[in-house]
Amino acid sequence: MSGDIRLPAADAAPTPLHDRARRFTAPEVVAGAAALFFVLAAVVPQWVAPGNPLGINPLSAFQPPSFAHGFGTDESGRDIYTRVVHGTGSSLLIGAAATAIGLGLGIVLGTLAGMFGPVVDFTVNRVLEVLFAFPGLLLALLFILVFGPGVITATIAVGLSTAPGYARIIRAQLIAVRRSAYVEAATVQGLGRTQILLRHILPNTLAPLFVLATLGVGQAIVWAATLSYLGLGAEPPTAEWGAMLSAGRTYITSAWWMSFFPGLFIVLIAVTATVLGRSLDRRLRHA
């Protein structure tokens, strides 16, 4: 029972959390490297795969993976590796564009519902509920049914089908932030409505959306590939993963590599987006 008394333990500050959060885990490093590869493949595909993705060479059709053709060749002798790499750009673009459309629409609908009183809120919510009643992919199919297949319609369709989810999240987040104690504190400080909206409400509502968007890109790419696979998005011979998967379906018993490698890349990009999104989420939460 020594008499020395140090700083009162009662009021000791909690230990900073970010030391733990800042360290990279192994999956994050792998996902980061994969993301770097995908971005390189999307921006400068000729560096990653110098060949021509559309170059036909009937003599070397249906070749299994070898040193000459790492991922094998398809029914027209096109190099699958080259095609997969050159397809990254369009896949990423479709994913990003679809997410942007979904998020943009979600922000508009969510803000309307969350900011402009009970009547607007009620109306928007009923619209969202109708949209929610259809499974996302079915909604996309409906849209394509009306506007015809193609890369652009498929992108819009995917964006549209993800919008209700984003709108709901934004509305809930907006309402929570608007009622938060710090918004009240800002009111007491004498800030005006616009200032509070710009300084506190919007940043706190939108920050969590970056995480959602990252997670959403992976999902959107899978959906866009699904539509292409069904022949409703990009059409052969475009180097697009879903379309390649679809083309390989006919030869799945004799040339598995035709559908395996595009499928592998779809999975990889979705996993990468998910791992990065979760890591971002963890960091933002602890920052």
Binding site: G3, R6, A9, A10, E184, Q189
Partner: protein, 578 residues
């Protein structure tokens, strides 16, 4: 901590002591030293005796208490020379052995009855659980016993209550139900961890009475609390814990009258009730959280402050009414015709129990919600009835401090950003877009003002880059006070500003508010459910009950000679040092 300080009445009881602890050490993680949080504590409790273990959060008191039930937590380890429950050594008990003992030879009462009771099960079933597990009573006999128990803990209409779920009970009723569950098997030892912290004063007094009644029946009680005043009426002996050690122990009256250890002296001094206005509550010690600067002398008592009532009225609330619609459609008046005035440089305390309308009143005064009737005038000008533009201009004169300081800060911002934006005020963003030189001059003057505010509330400049989440409760409230002072207000509305703080941290914050009031000639509206705190800080006091002010007068009169029966009941229930 010897047998000689035990109550003579308790010593008569036959059989071994319900609890003997010798050199108990508890830690987390590996056994290799560093992680130890309880460094060898020893005490014993006799039948019918109450031992209070008091200490600040982090002192190890809860871990100690939980170790007595084998519940120290995941990854914990425990060693002791002796740890005996009713004569049986439990040092190396297995989990199965602990399970057989919990409820039967030692009962536990937790702080938050709302989360400690299953919301989906009737309390009768909840209480009957331990009877079902540990006795061979039939269902009918169990039912009768549960009703007996509820009756014993003073719950009215027990035969109806057994069918209610925890959500249908009030805070005090839930706590009673929890105590009934803990004493169901009549364990010789009961451990209560902060059992009254979440309760209103009058309910707290009832629960403390109940504990006294339970010890009278021969049960040994270990009461854990951070508040010396609360336990002083129930406990026969007190053990003061600090940093995992018992630093002082003895009979309650003796410890309170002549505290030997500095930690005990600090805790005794921090009790606000019956301490005249202007008395320092926090005793500065070795390394204080708040450095003592020349502008802030450390003398324990400041001169009596003359209260001049001829000074101007700065805040005037007249006939405020605000109601809410209940789920069943009936109207409920949260604030019903509330009027008061606040004189410059004085403090008006508003006191009442939960649901009395204190916070709604604060929100009306801050014009965060619009009153149905009545108005508020600030510095003689209309405030609640003013135009939005006019009100925004007046807001600079009215600052606010909140109970949940952390929640009142934008989670994205650092302390520096919070204070700078408060200093810049509503026009900060607009004016910052001037020429670079003007912006630079403004930036420097803003930073100087932020430094001044930090110094004023006794925080080091190092907190500027931290986020409020990384600060302690006391530091957060200091940041909250600094932000409220940024616009140099004349009025400060404080809504339960110290209610979530430990008693000793509360003492520091109350002292800080008192100093700032003197320095800046602030006028305070101080809202609290804690009468002791209100008595300490207030010149005038308004007592609220069911939305109305039932008594309003000088603090001395309200506390010394309460007129309204409700005030009298409240004043009687204030925790004072025995």
């Amino acid at each position: 901590m010897n047998a000689d300080v035990r109550d003579p009445a308790a010593r008569e009881s036959a059989g071994p002591a319900p609890l003997v602890v010798h050199n108990l050490r508890v830690g987390f993680g590996g056994r290799a030293g560093g992680s130890e949080v309880v460094h060898g504590v020893s005490f014993e409790v006799a039948a019918g005796e109450c031992l209070a273990i008091v200490g600040e959060s982090g002192s190890g008191k809860s871990v100690t208490a939980r170790s007595l039930l084998g519940l120290a937590g995941a990854g914990s380890w425990m060693t002791a020379d002796r740890l005996e429950l009713h004569g049986t050594s439990v040092v190396s008990s297995t989990e199965a052995a602990w399970r057989a003992r919990r409820g039967k030879s030692v009962g536990l009462v937790l702080q938050d009855a709302l989360v400690s009771l299953d919301p989906l099960r009737p309390i009768g079933r909840e209480i009957g659980d331990s009877l079902r597990l540990h006795t061979n009573l039939g269902a009918a006999a169990r039912g009768r016993r549960v009703i007996e128990l509820l009756d014993a803990v003073g719950l009215p209409d027990p035969h109806l209550r057994v069918h209610q779920r925890s959500g249908e009970l009030s805070g005090g009723e839930r706590q009673r139900a929890l105590i009934a569950a803990a004493i169901a098997l009549d364990p010789p030892l009961l451990i209560a961890d902060e059992p009254t912290t979440a309760l209103d004063v009058t309910v707290q007094a009832q629960i403390l009475d109940l504990f006294r009644e339970i010890t009278r029946r021969g049960t040994a009680l270990v009461l854990i609390s951070h508040d010396l005043a609360v336990v002083s009426h129930v406990a026969d002996r007190v053990a003061v814990m600090s940093e995992g050690r018992i630093v002082e122990t003895g009979r309650t009256a003796q410890v309170l009258a002549d505290p030997a250890h500095p930690e005990t002296r600090r805790m005794v001094a921090a009790v606000p009730a019956d301490r005249p206005r202007g008395t320092r509550l926090s005793v500065p010690h070795g390394v204080s959280e708040r450095p003592i600067s020349p502008s802030r002398p450390a003398e324990p008592t400041l001169p009596e402050r003359p209260v001049v009532l001829e000074r101007p009225v700065v805040l005037e609330a007249t006939g405020l009414v605000k109601g809410f619609r209940r789920p069943d459609g009936t109207r409920h008046a949260a604030v019903d015709d509330v009027s008061f005035t606040l004189v410059r440089g004085t403090t008006l305390g508003i006191v009442g129990e939960s649901g009395s309308g204190k916070t709604t009143t604060a929100r009306l005064v801050l014009a965060l919600s619009t009153p149905e009737r009545g108005d508020v005038r600030v510095l003689g000008q209309p405030f609640t009835t003013a135009s939005v533009r006019e009100r925004r201009r007046l807001r600079a004169s009215v600052g606010a401090i909140y109970q949940d300081a952390l929640g009142s800060f934008d989670p994205r911002l650092s302390v520096g950003q919070i204070l700078r934006s408060a200093v810049a005020g509503p026009h900060g963003t607009r004016r910052a877009t001037g020429t670079t030189r003007v912006a630079e001059v403004r930036r420097i003057s803003e930073l100087r003002r932020v430094a001044e505010l930090l110094d004023g509330v006794g925080l080091p400049a190092t907190v500027l880059t931290r986020r409020p989440l990384e600060l302690s409760g006391g530091q957060r409230q200091r940041v909250g006070i600094a932000r409220a002072l940024a616009s140099t207000p004349q009025i400060l509305i404080c809504d339960e500003p110290v209610s979530s703080l430990d008693v000793s941290v509360q003492a520091q914050v109350l002292d800080l508010l008192d100093e700032l009031q003197r320095e800046l000639d602030l006028s305070l509206v101080f809202i609290s459910h804690d009468l002791g705190v209100v008595q300490h800080v207030s010149d005038r006091v308004a007592v609220m009950q069911r939305g109305a002010i039932v008594e309003l007068g000088d603090a001395g009169q309200v506390f010394g000679d309460p007129r309204h029966p409700y005030t009298r009941r409240l004043v009687r229930a204030v925790p004072r040092l025995a």
